[in-house]
């Protein structure tokens, strides 16, 4: 699988013709810019991933849409979105999985997890499934929450201070996804983009 950094614009579309990881990073994005990544599956037997990682600094906003559109049979897609929200940030995310009638034997998953660090945060999430074929497997999951205080407590009992503890947890939160990036150079780039 090849790893590819994408810079999503208002309407970025890709025809997926080989197994690819599309990685979107938002560290140098203008505030509030609308971005959309759409993958269209027109070749049988192809699988792809959309990986979006962001750490939104104070008072910034993000408008992100991802679309996995399955048109032919036997394709698979995994959409992974991981975000960290600092104080007074707004995040708007729409994640679509569209499976057309002909696209039997599709599997498509979406997972959107947001970790809230600051106060006054607005987080809007709309994971959408539109499924017209029956022999498919599709699911999505979305969750939002603060860091579990038990985890912070544990790390503090091990000698870390509160800031170090939460940094470590955030690092772990991103690492699980970073590890799945095949290309080491791209992985490095992505890891730097989400550092505090």
């Amino acid at each position: 699988m090849i790893s590819k950094i994408v810079h999503p614009e208002e309407n970025t579309k890709f025809q997926v013709t080989e197994n690819t990881q599309f990685i979107a990073l938002f560290n140098d994005y203008p505030d509030g810019k609308e971005c959309k990544i759409e993958l269209e599956f027109n070749t049988e037997g192809i699988s792809a991933e959309i990986i979006c990682l962001y750490r939104l600094p104070e008072r910034k906003s993000l408008h992100l849409t991802t679309v996995a559109k399955h048109i032919v049979p036997h394709t698979s897609c995994n959409t992974v979105v991981r975000g960290v929200l600092e104080s007074k940030t707004d995040s708007y995310y729409i994640g679509k999985i569209l499976i057309k009638k002909q696209a039997q034997q599709t599997s498509s998953y979406l997972s959107d997890r947001v970790l809230v660090l600051g106060d006054g945060v607005k987080n809007n999430s709309e994971p959408i499934l539109e499924i017209e074929a029956d022999d498919v497997s599709a699911s999505h999951g979305a969750s939002t929450g603060r860091i579990n205080p038990d985890e912070i407590y544990y790390l503090q009992s091990r000698g870390l201070n509160e800031k170090e503890s939460s940094d470590l947890i955030v690092e772990g939160f991103f690492n699980k996804v970073l590890e799945t990036i095949a290309d080491p150079e791209v992985r490095e780039l992505a890891a730097n983009a989400v550092k505090s």
Binding site: D119, N123, P127, I131, D135, V136, S139, S143, T144
Partner: protein, 478 residues
């Protein structure tokens, strides 16, 4: 690869038309013996007529007229299912089947009795029920309420009766959770409402047995606009159950109900609906509960049948620690679109909500889950969990999930999960290796799929729902 489509095909031919038996089992249409009915179509005169026939106070007439104005002004909703085929001029907005409400079973007219018999409400079962309110067409035709409940001060009447008997209580709550301007169909209901139930549970009273109402539409092209108003006072508990089995007729019929529930501090109220409208009914219902401190509201919603259902029971969690819950089952067969879901509005600290939705689509049917979880900035430490599972039984059917999460408080903990799948071939294979036929195996898997919700129903309703699902699946044998 070459085997898989074959398996799908075989499964399809076995399933047959799930609703093929509907006409013989539930499709009956008693001769229409209405005493009074309005002309088709809607105008101010019709509304004045309805209000006059019911001998209503002036404020109610004004309320209806204002709502009618709102109805005319509001555009048709352009999202969700396609409602453009509804012809509001072809609908009869009010009809009254019998002269007055009947108290004892013996007085109920023979056809109506027959209808209930075919619906399967056994006489003996009535002993178990706290009170039976059966709505036949627009008016409550038969009602009984056990003496013990009356002694405790529980009011369980038709909404029209309640307006006559308890005007003050009525005016205080009526239209306060769902104002006519809420949406086009709430406005329509507010203008022409008739029938429905009024439930008042006094402070601290626990009603152990479920309160039941049966809703029916009989005359073709008859819109049913029942209006239900429920007030659960502090610390009370009750369970209200309604079921609908509409007979088959050819022209499109409209059902636009409004249900308002007020859950006071520490009260718990459960509202169960099992609907099996015939598949020419537009079912567009607005249901809303206002839940105060420590209150619990539970909506259990079973949607089978109808042409289009658009229904999103909601809980406004306005008091601390309030809890809202929606359990929903939808089945969409040929030509049906079930657009159902739930709304949870968290407006106070420590509020929590749960939504569990299970949907099944077959024969070109479409199920859509449409939901909203809204956490306001004031709702510190609120929690919400949403789970939607959809089963697609054949290649012609479809399923959508449209959840919206608007979270404006940093401390909220929100989870959402949805899956769409078909019946697993391994599961089918395993059950068939145990001697079940394919349709039996499918039926068993579907029963298992909806089990988490069915087990929450009162006994006789879970039986009825199982009967209905069995009937849907029964076609699969032939």
């Amino acid at each position: 690869m070459s085997e898989k489509p074959k398996a799908v095909k075989k499964q399809k031919s076995n399933v047959g038309d799930l609703r093929a038996d509907y006409k013989t089992k539930y499709g009956f249409n008693m001769p229409d013996k209405s005493v009074y009915r309005t002309k088709r179509g809607l105008n101010e005169e019709v509304i004045r007529d309805i209000s006059k026939t019911k001998d209503e106070p002036e404020w109610m007439l004004n309320f209806r007229l204002r709502a009618y104005k709102t109805f005319k002004e509001r555009p048709m909703p352009q999202w969700g299912a396609n409602l453009n085929d509804i012809n509001f001029d072809e609908i009869v907005y009010y009809l009254k089947p019998t002269d007055q409400e009947k108290r004892s079973w013996e007085d109920v007219p023979e056809e109506i009795k027959q209808t209930f018999e075919r619906l399967g409400i056994p006489q003996a079962e009535r002993e178990f029920l706290a009170g039976v309110k059966a709505q036949y067409d627009s008016e409550v035709a038969y009602s009984s309420l056990r003496d013990e409940l009356e002694e405790e001060g529980v009011i369980f009447l038709s909404t029209d009766e309640a307006l006559r008997k308890y005007p003050q209580l009525f005016e205080e709550y009526f239209g306060k959770a769902i104002p006519p301007a809420d949406n086009k169909f709430a406005a329509l209901n507010s203008a022409v409402w008739s029938g429905g139930s009024f439930v008042y549970i006094p402070k601290g009273v626990e009603v152990k047995r479920p309160l039941q109402a049966y809703f029916r539409i009989n005359a073709a092209r008859m819109g049913q606009f029942e209006r239900t108003l429920i007030i659960a006072e502090e610390g009370s508990f009750a369970h209200y159950v309604e079921g609908c089995t509409a007979p088959v007729y050819s022209s499109d019929s409209l059902h636009a109900a409004v249900v308002e529930v007020f859950v006071k501090p520490g009260a718990r109220f459960r509202y169960t609906t099992i609907q099996n409208w015939s598949n020419d009914v537009y079912n567009l219902v607005t249901k809303r509960a206002r839940v105060e401190k420590d209150g619990v509201m539970e909506w259990i919603d079973g949607n089978l049948g109808s042409k289009i259902t658009m229904k999103y029971p909601s809980c406004y969690l306005v008091g601390e620690n309030a809890h809202g819950e929606v359990l929903s089952i939808a089945y969409a067969g040929q030509g049906m679109h079930q657009d159902a879901g739930a709304k949870m509005i968290h407006l106070a600290p420590n509020t929590s909500s749960t939504i569990i939705s299970k949907s099944i689509s077959a024969y070109g049917g479409r199920t859509s889950y449409r939901g909203l979880v809204n956490v306001s900035p004031l709702a510190e430490n609120s929690k919400s969990r949403v789970e939607c599972d959809a089963l697609i039984l054949d290649a012609d059917s479809a399923s959508d999930t449209f959840p919206v999460m608007k979270i404006s408080n940093s401390s909220a903990q929100i989870e959402h999960e949805a899956t769409v799948s078909k019946i697993g071939e391994e599961k089918l294979f395993y059950l068939m290796s145990r001697g079940l036929t394919e349709p039996e195996a499918m039926s068993l898997i579907v029963s298992g799929f909806i089990e988490p919700i069915v087990k929450e129903l009162p006994m006789e309703y879970s039986l009825e729902l199982n009967r209905l699902i069995e009937l849907e699946m029964e076609g699969s044998v032939g």
